[in-house]
Amino acid sequence: MTDKQQQMDTIVKLRNLSFQRGKRTVLDDISMDVQRGQVVALMGPSGVGKSTILKLITGQITPPQGTVEVDGDCISQMTVNNLKRFRRKVGVLLQNGALFTDLTCFENVALPLREHTQLNDSLIRRVVLGKLHAVGLRGAAELMPRHLSGGMARRVALARAIALDPALVLYDEPLSGLDPISQASIMRLIRSLNTALGLTSIIVTHSVDEMHELADYAYLIIGGRIAAHGTPEQLAAHESPLVQQFIKGQPDGPVPFHFPAASLADDLLAMP
């Protein structure tokens, strides 16, 4: 594949991205490419800035340094109207689904269609029922979100995320807090929707199993930097002790168990 073809097939391109929150550096010189049609996992321990990368891709926050390009457009240089147009092409599944509690499942999925299309009620009904059928919840169309289990709520939210047929879907920890059956059904959905609809998916996760099951490619972020990247097999075979500590789930290692502090003896013997 030539460089030009590869460039055309890159849907998300992050270059030299840095981000600080107060005095704390969350992301430090991050560069990554996401190829069209792939399922890419962003992995790392909690609080390393994985969700921040999603927010930078969607334009919810602007990077002080570096660029974010999606489909060739630089997000930080978009006008408000262009950003709105761009967001219609991106589906996001937030961590807890974020369904609107005063709307039925049907109305939740119909909302983006009503807001952004001129479809009549009959067509909207068909599209919504089709999306709900794809996630296996056509029968729950008239239920309120409070009547759904966590896994069902996330599936409805997934139906809503793909309501406008986006090219790119971002998942923020899609399996956290779910039982094994719900986890399996969400994982199958992410994979099958990606293939069937020709999507590109970026999944934020800290689960190694999830990465192995779903991802074509993965980035491991530790301490605000990319510690490793590659296919799940390449990551599993990576030589770095830091990567191995994460992959094998070891409590101590290059990422220390103890938060930095004065020596224990100094602390215990110190006069109050």
Partner: protein
């Protein structure tokens, strides 16, 4: 010492805790303009405004009607007792009408409204923020201020005058029941005194104008604190309490200011 004075000189204006009220007033003013800039008068927006007006009105109906009835009863009880000493009990209707339409009705209805519907609006928006529903709207390219905040603010402006009319109506009914049915005042005297001494233009309309201002203030306070609440359980709790306190203080201050202007 030098470092401290450097830091103090670098701090942006109105960023300290003492200037918090001024900062909030400024931010709320800007927030109001941001909301008004999103008025579209589109059928979909008005349908949402009407839906919220229904919810806001219905939520406050019980407390407003109960409050109105008992305020009328107490008002009649107290004035009747004092007027008996002067042999002027027939003036009960006049006094109740004058005090209700211009002062008590708008102020008490606004205070009850802030406590019931205002807190509910703040908690609802705050919880939507805490559960990422506002983020979800934003990510779907739907403006949360236009979709969530504006309809609730307009609903407050529409519903408080209607609720105040109901409050006044129930208060008049309460005072009528006490004075006429329990104390035996001639009902013709009660109504005719009220009719001849309570002016539509001097008492009723100024009171109604106040309710529109109070509706705007209570609604803006509720949506402002809800939208800017910290997205945690504690943050939503603090925002809800702030709504009641700030709305009540603003209503009382504005009532004095508006009464002075309308004299």
């Amino acid at each position: 010492m030098n470092q401290n004075s450097d830091q103090a000189s670098k701090a942006p204006p109105f960023s300290g805790p003492r200037s918090a009220p001024i900062r909030h007033i400024g931010e709320a003013g800007i927030f109001l303009f941001r909301i008004l800039a999103r008025l579209r008068f589109s059928p979909r927006q008005w349908a949402e405004v009407m839906r919220q007006t229904y919810f806001v009105g219905i939520r406050s109906l019980v407390i407003i009607m109960t409050g109105g009835l008992f305020v009328g009863l107490v008002l009649a009880l107290q004035t009747y007792d004092v007027l008996t000493d002067f042999g002027a009990t027939e003036a009960v209707g006049t006094i109740v009408g004058k005090s209700l339409y211009r002062e008590l009705g708008p102020v008490l209805a606004a205070l009850l409204f802030a406590g019931r519907a205002g807190t509910s609006i703040t908690a609802e928006i705050g919880l939507m923020k805490a559960t990422e529903q506002l983020d979800a709207l934003d990510l779907m390219a739907i403006d949360p201020i236009e979709r969530i905040v504006l309809p609730r603010l307009v609903a407050a402006v529409i519903s408080l005058p209607i609720l105040t009319l109901l409050f006044d109506m129930l208060a008049i009914l309460g005072s009528y029941l006490f004075a006429v049915h329990w104390m035996g005042l001639e009902q013709g005297i009660y109504w005719s005194n009220m009719q001849s001494h309570v002016s539509l233009y001097k008492e009723f309309f100024p009171g109604l104008m106040k309710t529109v201002v109070f509706g705007l203030v209570c609604g803006l306070t509720a949506v402002y604190y809800g939208y800017h609440a910290r997205p945690t359980g504690e943050g939503v709790g603090i925002a809800t309490t702030q709504t009641v306190i700030i709305s009540s203080i603003l209503v009382l201050i504005l009532d004095f200011a508006l009464s002075a202007l309308m004299l």
